[in-house]
Symmetry: C2
Subunit: 277 residues, 2 copies
Amino acid sequence: MVTPDRPIGIFDSGLGGLTVARAVIDLLPHEDIVYFGDTARCPYGPRPPEKVRSFALEITDLLVAEGVKLVVVACNSAESTAFYEATGRYEVPIVSVIEPGVRAAIAASRSGRIGLIGTEATIASGAYDRVVTATGADVVLESRACPRFVDFVEAGETASEAVLVAAEEYLGPLRESGVDTLILGCTHYPLLSGAIRYVMGEHVVLISSAEATASEVYARLLDLDLLKRDATEGRRRFITSGGEDRFGELGRRFLGPEFDGVEQRPWQLAADRRAAS
Amino acid sequence: MVTPDRPIGIFDSGLGGLTVARAVIDLLPHEDIVYFGDTARCPYGPRPPEKVRSFALEITDLLVAEGVKLVVVACNSAESTAFYEATGRYEVPIVSVIEPGVRAAIAASRSGRIGLIGTEATIASGAYDRVVTATGADVVLESRACPRFVDFVEAGETASEAVLVAAEEYLGPLRESGVDTLILGCTHYPLLSGAIRYVMGEHVVLISSAEATASEVYARLLDLDLLKRDATEGRRRFITSGGEDRFGELGRRFLGPEFDGVEQRPWQLAADRRAAS
């Protein structure tokens, strides 16, 4: 029995899915969340599709055993292995990270020319092309792998000369091809959107799969009457199959800045009182 | 002398500008930031424009005295009081929260019908209309005040019946008017984008002023050769003119979820080893 008080499950091969977790927390701060990062077996990209599919099913089993009410597959590789078609076996709804981004891009595009960037494995899998085709929309998808982007994000490098040179190399051809919408088809990429927008120009609409997926989670839970009803702050659990150290170090970077407190400047108010008197 | 090692200054009448701070931190994690929230005098909206303008100049003076290299006016009310025109007096560049959102919306709109939502004070000020007119773009701006949205966000209420009823009341007419792009013209609103998207439908592109402004900051610092060069994590200072308690309580909500650590499930890896052997 799936009930509103259960947590939302989110999984990824690694840490990138934390951008999705954060977008979900933004929209639904009261919801409990269980995040599973399969960092011990990350990246999935180079592995045989059947292997990745079995990993994805294994983790979904684990999340369902934890009692989640919905599972977010925040992993492009997992989705591209026909895992999604296998999801009929679960009682809980499964939300993908690919479909919401594709639908948002189709809605946003004026010219029907949509760009897609992702890892080499994601682009080679053709998963986005299949989803675009399945929508029946009259659009053209121009895809481009950006192999070094994940390393830049994980190194906290977002505005260096090397980032900008790589961004120009990867994105220049997309810009020249006239796409007016660009899907960030990797959960790491929202953290590079400053460089991506700089190179693409501000007339190109960037679609963050993380935000589109969070909106999908919101809508699905609302439609299924599965939103948590009490208004306490949600509990969040982060589980890793690998070492805690790396997860912890990068977790803060992905989940958001720390808030360490605040300084008070009461004199500012005093000055105002003087001015008003 | 404005140099790359200086912090970025951001101010708002209150806490909403923290969504802008967070977007800037996402794109530029190495940059130091000084945030000033004038919570003692918040909200600015009901105050006479001349008063708000003097507050904005006073705070900008304070940030410049702190040695910032760029100031972000993350406050719609401040910008709508002709403060922006007064910024010629500063050596450092001043980035507004209105212009980047307007430019992004004009770029994204297919039909030229753009929606704008904001507080009553922002909508009544006509500040967005003036910026749209100044661009010379052939677009129509349909504006709508959403007075209760700020309270919902500050109460952490994002998916309740009351939120959805209010969202339908405010946004229904905008949806019916056929806008294809919607500017979230208040820094609180990105946290309600689940409800906003649900009511508007996914064919409407939502423009977050916070993200658009962060991209503008990235581009301006890059163009001016003012990006910080060393790759250490940035230091962030949050200053309030009012009480620390409320700032601290809401600060976490605005700046992003806390990351409290991670559980390890090494058995997952062990299971994989068994499967692989």
